[in-house]
Amino acid sequence: MAGRVLVFAEQRDGQCRKSVFEALGLAAQLGDEVHALLVGDAVASQAAELGAHGAQTVHTVEDERLARYWNEGYAAALAAAIDTVQPDLVLLIATVMGKDLLARVAARRNLAALTDCITLTENEGTFEAVKSMYGGKIFATIRAKRTPAIASLRPSAYPVPERQEAQPTVQALAVDLPAEQRARVVEVRKKEEGQIDVQEAEVIVSGGRGIKDPKNFEMIAGLAQVFGAAVGASRAAVDAGWIDHSHQVGQTGKTVSPKLYVAVGISGAIQHLAGMRTSQCILAINKDPDAPIFSIADYGIVGDLFKVVPALVAEVKKVQA
């Protein structure tokens, strides 16, 4: 099917998220016309980057009320773009914003909704996705029974396409935004400077109950630092109050697919695996050779984490030097 794909180019603070480019790369594989939608306040400057990654046309919706995420305002913008572009497929990224928006707009325009796709392909005119279910115990193939379909892609599931020399057509889209902001963001609280979020990280180093004491998260953070990684945690570590819940990986935490996931002192309970089993590479450090985490690890080190982690920090530094 040669079709039209509309990519929602998620930005915060005027900066497009890297995964938007992953979605553009997939869009170019699935369709022959790639459109992108930029929503925000004074965001049109991002259009060139979108063009360089494959967007032929960039539609912009700018309004000062859209400076922060306003779910009904953003939904009105995406619905209007769908009406204008008439795409076969609408692509978002399965982020906090992408998931929120997908559900509203899928309901509003009665679209076939494929969420948190690990792969998304076209098969005889219909879109098919593979997604994780039952906490990663099942990989299901889901078919959209009609078009247009709307799909969210799991971050890092697809590569960022190579940059090309291309200027997109930029078109401002007029949208009737709702008069009232029934749900309005009044404040955005950022985490401490320098902390990387597990949902945005290419490498994650997670600590579990095996690290024994909250202050040992400093050691975990030290290992994370040499990799430029985010700090994750098992639920046991979160429930013990050692670290904030936003770091938790697993069934009731975040689902992540980084390039490298390092599990330190984590046994590998089924609910933890649910959140990280689609990582590209898994390194586990555990003193128990029978810990279940080793069954899904690409590399496992059996040993005392208090000795292994410092050795690892030193060795990685050596290799990087």
Binding site: Q199, E315, Q320
Partner: protein, 260 residues
């Protein structure tokens, strides 16, 4: 305040999941069912709101087969006032969007001021129902709540988790709010609660919805296959001296996994 909590019965996260012989559904034999964990946070929050105000009603609403009554009872034992269940087969088996349409039809009749959902159902992980429900009700929503405050009793001030931080959202009622872990710690049912639950009503209702838009017939998506997750076998386990093992692993991270 009248609050409706949408609760979905799901296999326990500990349950062993086997694929049925049709290759596209789950074999229900011996699978222990529980209330979706995120919906328990929603139930707990509804009970706390009612308790803080000293008045109100909490209703738990489920779209599921008859068997779901035992999970509804568990919510009643926690303190929920009554249950409502939609079990008409024509309305089941749809996708999340269809379920949202059915829930919306019931909620319109119940006329609550607040609807609480979980952020995600841990079985099919469709991740659309709560927000799609808000759309069909034409209500505002806030997803991923980790804290709900009531500055003037009417408007809710909701903290939601986003990547790298939190957003504080003011939302007017009626509204749908979906619960993230961290919102609260759900209580256990007391013995008294369990006894009381036996006398609380569970009403079966059949809302009027356009049959073409719900159930398996109206679904926009369908599951065509289920498979176990791709095996990650072939991992290498190192049990030797740390001084020898660590450089080997780092070398593999570099040459094989291309990470460093």
């Amino acid at each position: 305040m009248k609050i409706v909590v949408c609760m979905k019965p799901v296999p326990s996260s500990e349950a062993r999941i086997n694929i049925a012989s049709d290759g596209r559904s789950i074999d229900p034999t011996d699978v222990e069912m529980v209330a979706n964990p995120y919906d328990e946070y929603a139930v707990e929050e509804a009970l706390r709101i009612k308790e803080a105000r000293g008045e109100g009603e909490v209703i738990v609403l489920t779209v599921a087969a008859e068997a779901a009554r035992s999970e509804i009872r568990k919510c009643l034992a926690m303190g929920v006032d009554r249950g409502v269940i939609v079990q008409d087969p024509a309305l089941l088996g749809g996708d999340g969007i269809g379920t949202a349409r059915v829930l919306a039809a019931v909620i319109r009749e119940l006329e609550p001021e607040l609807v609480l959902c979980g952020k995600l159902s841990i079985d099919v992980e469709s991740d659309v129902v709560g927000i799609a429900l808000a759309e069909y009700l034409d209500w505002p929503h806030v997803s991923l709540a980790t804290k709900i405050e009531w500055p003037d009793g009417k408007m809710a001030k909701v903290q939601r988790e986003i990547e790298g931080g939190a957003e504080i959202v003011e939302v007017s009622l009626p509204a749908v709010v979906t619960a993230e872990k961290g919102l609260n710690e759900p209580r256990y049912a007391s013995l008294k609660g369990i006894m009381a639950a036996k006398r609380k009503p569970i009403e079966a209702v059949t809302p009027s919805v356009d049959a073409g838009q719900v159930g398996a017939a109206g679904a926009g998506v369908e599951i065509v296959a289920m498979n176990p997750p791709p095996a990650r076998g072939g991992g290498k386990k190192f049990e030797g001296e740390i001084e020898e093992v660590v450089p080997q692993v780092v070398e593999l991270l570099k040459s094989e996994a291309k990470i460093l």
